[in-house]
């Protein structure tokens, strides 16, 4: 449920009394309604779902999350290659 994707605000304009933005999704550009994030600014990212910006994306949180993932990677060697361990059981009926 909820196919929502992050996009970057490129332009903002009022249209028919509604706050609308042109949003860039990595080279794909669509009109998006900003009524639920009225203070979203050009250059910011938001989660967009069925033509609506629903939540601003927070860069600091994102970085912290990615940093954590990287840290965990450093620990990986202690436990061996996880793919090796998974290979035996993938794609069969019992798994999934």
């Amino acid at each position: 449920m909820c196919l929502a994707v992050p996009g970057r605000v490129m332009e903002i304009a009022e249209r028919d009394g509604t706050r609308m933005a042109v949003v860039d999704f990595g080279g794909v550009v669509k009109d998006v309604c900003l009524e639920y994030l009225p203070d979203l600014a050009v250059g910011e990212y938001a989660i967009v779902h069925v033509g609506f910006a629903l939540q601003r994306l927070d860069e600091e949180s994102a970085r912290r999350t990615l940093d954590l993932f990287a840290e965990l990677g450093l620990l990986q060697e202690e436990f061996g290659d996880p793919w090796e361990a998974a290979a035996g059981s993938a794609g069969t009926e019992e798994r999934n």
């Binding site: 449920m1 929502a4 009524e35 639920y36 069925v50 994306l57 990677g73 998974a86 009926e93």
Partner: protein, 374 residues
């Protein structure tokens, strides 16, 4: 930072998986609530990477799957009327009603249109003042605010020929219902990140406490899902049951207040039937009284419709994690994605459809090359 590719990077998966393996000591059954997460898990093959102890149960979080047969039949009846333009998200077109689907209605001459956004349906209504335009308003808390906005604007702008057939559903009551079922096997939940982007997480602590289950708010990219699983397993192994936000870049505790205010204005909570499961108290939204004029159920007489789900179909049990799809007798024989008996076989997020794909691989499995990461 694009907030996308970064969280799809296989190079970063190794540490997450290693940590899960390090943590796990015994079997755990986790339910991912959201169909979008199910989709991501299947698309990337994430479940195959997990240690055997970690079982993922695909939850009821696909609105296509849970929209009740009766509502689908109502939609089909309205869509078939001459003069009506029936607008829907693409997913709903192939969902079987009692004897046909929206595609079939279109094939028989009904004017059924796929829209990308509910605002597109509103625009169609303005462009066709002599037609009745009906939008099929389904979805969870993420889709509800856009749909609410369309109804709100229709009322404000006096677009009288626009109405909505609403069958919105809410996640927390479903979680409650699953946990209350006596046969429940679910030990933890990956909560739907986008639902929480809108609604926040205030409803979850009480749930986690009451049922003593960890609830981890989880995003949709593969690394997000691994992180959600990792945090859940850690809690389970420690015997904890708190609400944890593993998707902080998009989820704030209070959600989106503007959207929640609009939801409170346009909708009111109602009991709602979930396909395969039955009625869950307070689990849905319907249009509130002041928007009655734009309520398609009110505008079109679709009362006489009673339905009967195929007796064979056990999708209710599947949706609750009580049954694996291949334990259903119809699975793979009379029921396939081409000829679905139940909605869980229709959507690519449906538990039965997902299972069908793997099942077809047969026993020998796929030869596995060395890991693509390091």
């Amino acid at each position: 930072m694009r907030y996308l590719e970064e969280f799809q990077n296989p190079e970063l998966a190794g540490g997450l998986l290693a940590d899960i393996r390090a943590a796990v000591t015994r079997p755990w059954a986790l339910m991912e609530v959201c169909g979008g997460q199910t989709h991501s898990i299947i698309r990337h093959g994430i479940d195959q990477l997990l240690p055997e102890e970690v079982e993922l149960i695909h939850g009821p979080g696909c609105p296509v799957c849970v929209t009740p047969l009766e509502v689908i039949d109502r939609a089909l009846a309205i869509a078939a009327r001459p003069g009506v333009i029936f607008c829907s998200f693409g997913d709903m077109l192939r969902v079987p009603g009692t004897d046909r689907d929206l595609f079939r209605v279109r094939g028989e001459g009904g004017d059924v249109r796929v829209v990308y956004s509910p605002l597109d349906a509103l625009r169609i209504a303005k462009d066709n003042p002599d037609r009745e335009v009906v939008f099929f308003g389904i979805g969870f808390e993420t889709t509800a605010p856009p749909n609410a906005m369309a109804v709100h604007q229709a009322r404000k702008q006096g677009v009288r020929n626009f109405s909505m057939l609403v069958s919105h559903v809410r996640v927390p009551p479903a979680v409650e219902a699953i946990m209350t079922a006596p046969e429940c096997r679910v030990q933890a939940f990956l909560a739907a990140g986008h639902v929480c982007s809108v609604m926040g997480i205030e409803e979850y602590p009480a749930l986690a406490e009451r049922h003593r289950v960890p609830i981890v708010v989880t995003g949709f990219e593969p690394l997000d899902i691994l992180e959600g699983i990792r945090r859940t397993v850690r809690q389970l192994e420690r015997g904890e049951h708190t609400v944890d936000n593993a998707y902080p870049r998009a989820v704030r505790p209070e959600g989106n207040p503007a959207a929640r205010a609009m939801l409170a204005d346009v909708f009111e909570v109602t009991d709602r039937a979930w396909r395969g499961i039955g009625v869950i108290p307070d689990s849905g939204w319907r249009l509130s009284a002041r928007y009655r004029e734009h309520d398609a159920e009110h505008r079109f007489d679709v009362s006489g419709i009673t339905t009967c789900e195929p007796a064979q179909c056990r999708s209710g049990e599947v949706l609750q994690g009580l049954l694996k799809p291949n334990q259903c007798e119809a699975f793979g024989t009379v029921c396939t994605p081409r000829t679905p008996l139940g909605a869980t076989m229709v959507s690519s997020e449906g538990a039965c459809a997902a299972y069908y794909l793997y099942r077809r691989l047969g026993a020998p499995g796929v030869s596995r090359e060395a890991s693509p990461v390091g």
